[in-house]
């Protein structure tokens, strides 16, 4: 643990909850807005070029009859490959950069009381390597596993010789089944990321803990994730169609009202995600506690002698340790089993308590 962390580390939350971190949820939603713009800009500017000369601008694309919309699609055919590549790169970049606010959100959820930006920044930056690896690997596993399941499923549905409607429904069911089968991967990834941020574990330990929770508390973990994901999906789809339902048929397409509705939906789905992450923190603490954690934060004067302590069992303290008074001598610990430290602690200077 760095000196900076020690100086800013708030106590761990006993019962993490999303509603205690509205600021972080809003910040994450702002990040999504910026990232969404980065992803959308190449294609929307390409399409906009067709109607750039028209005083009504983009509104031409939404006119009844779709003449300008089809024309825009036609005229963008040469620009679409680079725009698609740009959007894909933007997805990759913003996805990777998004790990930082995501980690900050986890860090905030895992702590009690006020958390300061330097702490969040520190907690977001330090595990970025582990988080990126987890993200990329889980994405690839999902893609490969999903493709294999999809191919096998399509062959299976084809072999059943359904009628047209039955086959289509079979494919819908197949899609849902594949998503359900892929769900544990996403759940394990989230749990691993929470572990990496909240407990500063490395890739292997994070992954092991994530998988352990999925194994030991499958229903609670996957169910908790699924319920929130479905709710979020409903909110996103509802917000997609709500503006058109609220507008009169011949009204020109609006921007302000849909923007407000859409961003409200984004805030809500981020809150649901935060709720899941808070649940993930609790699940990790209860279902896959670390065998040991790094030595409790010890506020000691470098020169003070430390009395050895005799430990008969591995230390399992996950909640906030009582900070020791700097002046109190601590007996040196006698470790019966080797302690598994996950990050070499550095000598710390006494710090002010933080709220």
């Amino acid at each position: 643990m760095s000196q900076l962390d020690a100086s800013l580390d708030p106590p761990r939350a006993e019962r993490p909850a999303a509603f205690r971190r509205p600021g972080l949820i809003a910040a994450y939603a702002v990040y999504l807005l910026v990232a969404g713009f980065a992803v959308a800009a190449p294609w929307s500017s390409l399409l906009h070029a067709t109607v750039a000369g028209y005083p009504r601008g983009d509104a031409e694309l939404f006119d009844r009859g779709g003449t300008m919309l089809i024309e825009a699609i036609r005229l963008t055919r040469f620009g679409s490959p680079p725009a698609t590549t740009s959007s894909l790169l933007a997805i990759l970049f913003t996805g990777a950069v998004g790990l930082l606010p995501f980690a900050a959100l986890i860090a905030g959820l895992g702590r009690k009381g006020r958390v300061r930006a330097p702490f969040l920044a520190s907690r977001a930056v330090r595990p970025i390597g582990t988080l990126t690896l987890l993200w990329g690997l889980s994405f690839a596993v999902e893609a490969i596993f999903g493709a294999l399941l999809g191919v096998l499923g399509v062959k299976l549905v084809g072999a059943l010789h359904f009628a047209a409607r039955g086959e289509a429904l079979g494919h819908v069911v197949l899609g849902a089944v594949v998503l359900l089968l892929l769900l544990p991967i996403g759940v394990a990834r989230d749990l691993a990321m929470v572990s990496a941020v909240n407990d500063e574990t490395r890739f292997y330990t994070s992954s092991s803990r994530g998988l352990r929770v999925v194994r030991r508390a499958f229903g609670r973990a996957v169910g908790g994730y699924l319920v929130r994901a479905l709710l979020a999906l409903g909110i996103l789809l509802g917000a997609l169609f709500l503006p058109s339902l609220l507008s009169t048929p011949d009204a020109p397409p609006a921007t302000a009202m849909p923007f407000a509705l859409h961003q409200l939906a984004i805030v809500l789905v981020v809150a649901l995600r935060a709720s899941w992450l808070a649940s993930a923190i609790r699940l990790l603490d209860t279902r896959a506690p670390l065998p040991t954690v790094e030595a409790p934060v010890v506020f000691v004067a470098p020169a003070d002698p430390i009395a050895p302590a005799e430990l008969t069992e591995p230390v399992k303290t996950l909640d906030e340790p009582e900070p020791l008074a700097p002046a109190d001598p601590i007996a040196p610990a006698e470790i019966i089993e080797p302690v598994k430290t996950l990050d070499e602690p550095e000598p710390l200077a006494p710090a002010d308590p933080i709220d």
Partner: protein
Amino acid sequence: MRRLLEIAVGLGIAWAAARATQPSPPMLAPPPGAAPLAASAPPSAPAGIPAPVGVAYDSDAAMTGHPEAVAGYTLRASLDPAKHTLHGEGRIVWKNASRAPVSELWVHLYMNGFKNDKTLFQRVPIDGFRGTDTPSGFGHITVKRFAVREMEGQDLWPGADKTSPGDPDDETDIRVPLPRAVEPGASIIADVIWDEQLPPITFRTGYLDNGFHFVGQWFPKIARLEPDGHFTHFAFHHLSEFYADFGAYDVTIDTPDSMIVGATGRLEGEVRTSGRIERRYVQEDVHDFGFTAWDAFRELTGKSEDGKVALRVLYPAGHERAAAIEMDTARFGLTYFGKTYGRYPYETLTMVHPPEGAEEAGGMEYPTLITTGGAWYEPYIGARLIDVVTIHELGHEWFYGLVATDEHAFPFLDEGLNSYAEADSMEARFPGSSALKSGNLEVSLWAFGRLGSVERFPNAPVAQPAPSFATGGDYGALVYQRTASILGTLAGVYGEDLVRRAIGRYTRRYRFEHPGPAELIGVIDEVVGHDAAQNLRAALFDRASVDYAVSTFESERSEAPHGIFGDPAHPSAAPAAPAGPWSGDVLLRRRGALRFPVDVELHEEDGTVQRVRWEAIEPAERIPFTGKSRLVAVIIDPAHKVLLDENLANNAKQSGRQIGGPLLERAVYVGEAGLWGLQP
């Protein structure tokens, strides 16, 4: 270092996964090694001017009641649905309706187009059009007897040519020499017997393993005899097949009694004998006959809005909604087309929705019998494909059926005019959303039709024989979409009612006849005007195009002209300043040979919009502007009436640029939602 490595590996894996899920770009260029085109005559604009049609044909009263009966068929077809074979026999009554003696007959055996992979039908690549290049089986027809009673009952088939002229691999266009000539006005009766093997559903005809059969191009059929005594005959080609003389068809179809049959004409009687059933269908005043048989058909029946036409939909289970749409569409279409193009003269209309796997049998037209298509879920997502296919095939009852043009020489006369009729009628029924209505997204058939129309017009003229099109994609875009866009443009510019009236006059005047492009252009000239006819001719035959563009515009505060006016020694007063406080001009351009007058909108800074008419006679013209405030934007043809305009992006220009808007807002939201799905 370790962290960097982790980041690099993570990003690399994610990128690779993302790339793997990205679809490859569509192939725009045709594949190499395409077969050479079939020989065909170069297109030429019609030289003669037909006699004026007259206003009498704006109503049904002047319409011909019946055609001259030239080729009548009384046939009996026995179908073996297990072997997918058909045995046929009967007689053909044929009249020499030309001015010259005829010493040979040309007989089309189009079922032989499916005989092997060297026939013309199979050799020519589909390349962008419907159908498959590699059929899963073959079909053929073998004529056993072709005996003409007036020639002493002699079987003429042994003396007939074995292959199509100039094509030893094709057996679909057969010359039958006659022992002696048939004089003008004389008739002959030919007794025919034949056997055929149906192919697996290929393009139009054949069988499906589940017992579905669709039987088209199935009997020996005499080619169309022109007034000068020559036959218009051609080998079976996947882009054209229809052109024949009118007559009466009396066909008895013999099938196992479990089969449900749909056919051209009205059912005159049924006879059941030992597990089989014979159904007799009769129809006068048609030039073709098709039928379908399947034991799993569901059936929906109804009547036209005027109660005169019995409607029947045959469809597979699970397609109830499609059948209901087809029934509704037929009711609407019979009324709309009847009112616009002359009443439907037959008593029946049968619609067949082929089962899954037999989609290639869908979207076809035969007299009083059409096949439709479309997936069951399309109505649920707002796509109107089922309505569109149904109305299109119904339209063929006029453009092919009643006005029997030569599909081989000028396919645009049936498919193109029918595509215009399809879009026009669908727009009348679903304004602005004739192709799609999904939420607030509404797309018209005109917008879709523009796509192929403006993309492919440089490739070939519209008015050329079907085999001359280099690819099926060119054929589809030019014959269907370009023709519809041309007529849609005439309607937009000169008036929808006027063009509708012109096409209606054409279809009424040439009902039961075989007009060519000259007759169509003549009627447009007569009803819509000479400019419209000139544009139509150029667009059809000369690949003529048009692209309007706003080149520049400017405006400034009006001031009295500066300088010396009149005699410098005794200068006169300066001319008055322009009328408005702001003045300037707009430079407009029209590129291409087509000339359509268009509206031009001049947008002022205070929101005032002036609308002026630009005749677009010159390729470039400056339009003066005076207004109360600065000119900030100019739009040519703001209602997009000129569907042929090659590029709509350059039709407007404005000062300044907008940032944001509904498109960006929606796109950002979709981006956010997508990232939410991918995120952590």
